[in-house]
């Protein structure tokens, strides 16, 4: 953790420096070629901030997904406040604001003042169910007990009074707006990411801190621990056409669960990474978006200087992987960069068949001396053309008070507008990027992404 901007300090102080604006793509080698200028301008993409005003202690939004009803759901998480709990919200297009659906801790009878690590967040763990309109969600840990300044799941594992009760799995009916049922998905551990294989009625999850791979049968409501992957959670699972579930291990290898073999397998290859100062270690998935035809996925890694790639899981014994290069700018390789500053997330396809994502950009006197028209750190919305692999800057996320370079997840709603979950302000919130009419379409969220 950086001493300058530690995790908790980042949550508290990320609005500290508000230098302003401008636009100039930083020069860099190896970057995807920028597309020629289009008739569109950033002004065509109206950016609006929706704060979690009814959950003022919220400090992160780790989960933002489109529900089976085509509406946007977001988790107002509160992990930096002892005893903080998560509230589930939904974007209401009629009022152009957020609806607060429920305080999750109340739904699962695990209040924030229990003295245990609290039900503070949903971490990449919304998963839709299309046939019945259910949105599954699973909670995660790290919010400290109400009277502790921090929580270590390793320290408190054997402590009945302090230990996190477990990841709560909820089935939320988006048609009736009620929680149909809930139960503990993973005792004592959090759920880092969740995936739904609807055809088989199975949920897949990765636990934290032990990094175990779990399968939950929705019919029998039974969980099964398949085994440990490593020490660093991947932040995403994805599903291929053969019902195989994919993720990554600590050293940047693909990990695949094949139901036919009932076994976790590791690929012989290391995922694309920076050859200068990375080894593949920690090149775990941060975010993965499926292409609309489900033939490939686009992924970004969870490490400063995140790399993007395109993976073809249905080809060959192990997938063909295309290195799409770094998502963020060049920087001094002799000092590690803060993970919350150098970041890429929010990958989603929109109604125009293009991939959108948010990558951070920051002022660096040597590598990116942006002018005063720029903020110190910015969240840039990029568009990547799958046919040409060209990318172009679409717009910047503008927060009314804070910096906005860190986006967790992105999704497109049934109208074709983009939404992004933000991390780094209190209260936290989400961004909406209204798309030009030419890039919108009805039911733009379909086929829906089945993982958080």
């Amino acid at each position: 953790m950086s001493r300058e901007i530690g995790r908790r300090e980042f949550f508290r102080n990320s609005g500290a420096s508000l230098l302003t604006v401008g636009a100039a793509l930083y020069p860099r080698d190896g970057m995807l070629a920028a597309a020629p200028a289009t008739p569109e301008s950033p002004g065509d993409y109206k950016v609006k901030w929706y704060e979690f005003t009814e959950h003022k202690i919220s400090d992160t939004c780790w989960s933002l997904s489109v529900g089976p009803d085509g509406r946007i759901y977001a988790a107002a998480c509160a992990e930096g406040v002892p005893g903080g709990v998560v509230k589930v919200t939904r974007y209401n297009e009629a009022k152009d604001g957020l609806d607060y659906l429920f305080d999750l801790s109340k739904m699962v009878d695990d209040p924030g003042d229990s003295g245990r690590a609290s039900q503070c967040k949903i971490h990449y763990s919304f998963a839709p169910s299309m046939h019945d309109g259910i949105l599954y969600m699973a909670t995660h840990l790290s919010g400290p007990p109400i009277d502790q300044p921090a929580y270590s799941p390793w320290l408190s594992w054997h402590d009945e009074k302090r230990c996190f009760r477990g990841s709560a799995l909820l089935a939320y009916d988006t048609k009736t707006d009620e929680v149909k049922w809930w139960e503990t998905l993973i005792p004592k551990e959090g759920c880092r990411c969740l995936l739904h294989d609807e055809e088989r009625g199975l949920l897949y999850a990765i636990s934290y801190p032990r990094d175990h791979f779990f399968i939950y049968d929705l019919k029998t409501r039974q969980r099964r621990d398949v085994g440990r992957i490593g020490s660093i959670n991947a932040q995403t699972l994805f599903l291929d056409k053969m019902h195989r579930v994919w993720t990554t291990n600590d050293y940047g290898h693909l990990v695949r669960y094949d139901p036919e073999k009932d076994r976790l397998e590791m690929s012989p290859f290391v995922l694309p990474h920076n050859p200068e100062f990375q080894t593949g270690w920690h090149s775990v998935f941060y975010d993965v978006a499926p292409s609309p035809d489900r033939e490939c996925v686009y992924a970004a890694t969870w490490i400063a200087n995140s790399y993007m790639m395109r993976i073809w899981p249905n080809e060959g014994e192990w997938p063909r992987i295309e290195n799409l290069g770094p998502a963020t700018q060049k920087r001094d390789p002799t000092v590690s960069k803060d993970t919350f500053v150098d970041h890429c997330g929010g990958l989603t396809f929109a109604g125009d068949g293009q991939l959108y994502y948010v990558a951070s950009r920051w002022r660096d006197p040597v590598y990116n001396p942006m002018g005063p028209e720029h903020k110190q750190r910015e969240g840039v919305v990029w568009r990547l053309n799958p046919a040409t692999l060209e990318r172009e800057e679409v717009t910047c996320l503008v927060h009314p008070r804070e910096l906005a370079q860190y986006v967790s997840r992105g999704a497109v709603d049934h109208n074709g507008d983009l939404f992004f979950g933000h991390v780094g302000s209190r209260p936290s919130g989400i961004f909406k990027v209204e798309m030009p009419a030419s890039r919108k379409k009805e039911n733009a969220h379909l086929p829906i992404r089945m993982w958080g």
């Binding site: 270590s152 054997h158 976790l264």
Partner: protein
Amino acid sequence: MMSDEKKKIDLNSAAAQQEANNIVHGTFVKQGTMVAFPTGFPGATIPILADESHITALDVSPQGFVYGGTSGKRAHIFVGMFHGVTGMVLDMKAVDGATHCVAVCCGKSRFLACVNGPSGGTILTARLQPWPYDLIQEWGFERPHFEDLGGVAGEPIVHAVADASRDHVVGVTAHHLFTVDFAAPKVQTVAEVLACGRIALGSKGNIVGPDGQGHLWRFDCSTQKLEPQAFKLPAGRWEKSPAVWARSAETGLLFTADDDGQFFSFDEQRGFSAPLGKTMLAPVYCMAATFDGRVFGSCGSGIAKMFCYDPRRREITNLGAAVSLFERRRYGYVFGDAVTGRDGEIVFGEDDDGGHLWLYFPRIEAASA
């Protein structure tokens, strides 16, 4: 619910920040250093497959190599080298049909591994590995030839150890005691026993093992004589039997713990000690003694904690959760066996998917301590 006065916490206070640091960093290895080493030759081979690499058996050869066996979808037999210009683990054999390695025993020139599978136990033996050439420069390894000695009465093997001379191995199945002579490897069933846990080399060179829930039997290797109920177990909970031992190479003193983590020493002449303390969690999964008499082990399920029994202070200390920052950055949650390395370091076998050999270098005590 917590009381109101406990709810006030100033996250910006120095005390809160200190406490937060203690919670985050004070959780892990508080004394000494742990290094997780993969079950391969880093940079030259891949490790043993993750779900075949639960390390459940270890022994150290006279030259200081660490021999071990794994459990999982398939058992493997390996050797680790950490001295001289080495630094590698050689996966010597994947044993088809075997899913659990219960013991590896080193003789003077050969070693032996006991593995179990759906069709029972099997004993395999091969020559000890010679020193390789400089493993920073050039190397070449071939998997050794293993001799299959077959099973023991068609039963799964429970455990086995080398005797003091390292000429023989003594082992147990659920109902039988057997021996193997390294010079002419052949399994000999010697007696019937009720074996329900690991066995150990006693202070006078005899082998002892759990005899039901209340006693230990003793086996004299030279006379091949088994003495049932030779020692009474001390008061405690022994429903799972004294399954774990540590042995001081200097004194021959054995250490064990009951189901609740009550700690005892055992000497063939004097029997069991009074309780020496209690580990902070139970059960104790494995432990080993270093040269100054301290015993290091692992206890507790799910996320194990390391402990140290210091005979001089007669106290058991919580060393925290296992973490490795060198060679591999990894948390350690489950350990299946432990042995004392050449220089007194403790080698723990990680009984988990993607299991590593964990070398623990204890803290050097101050001279006045």
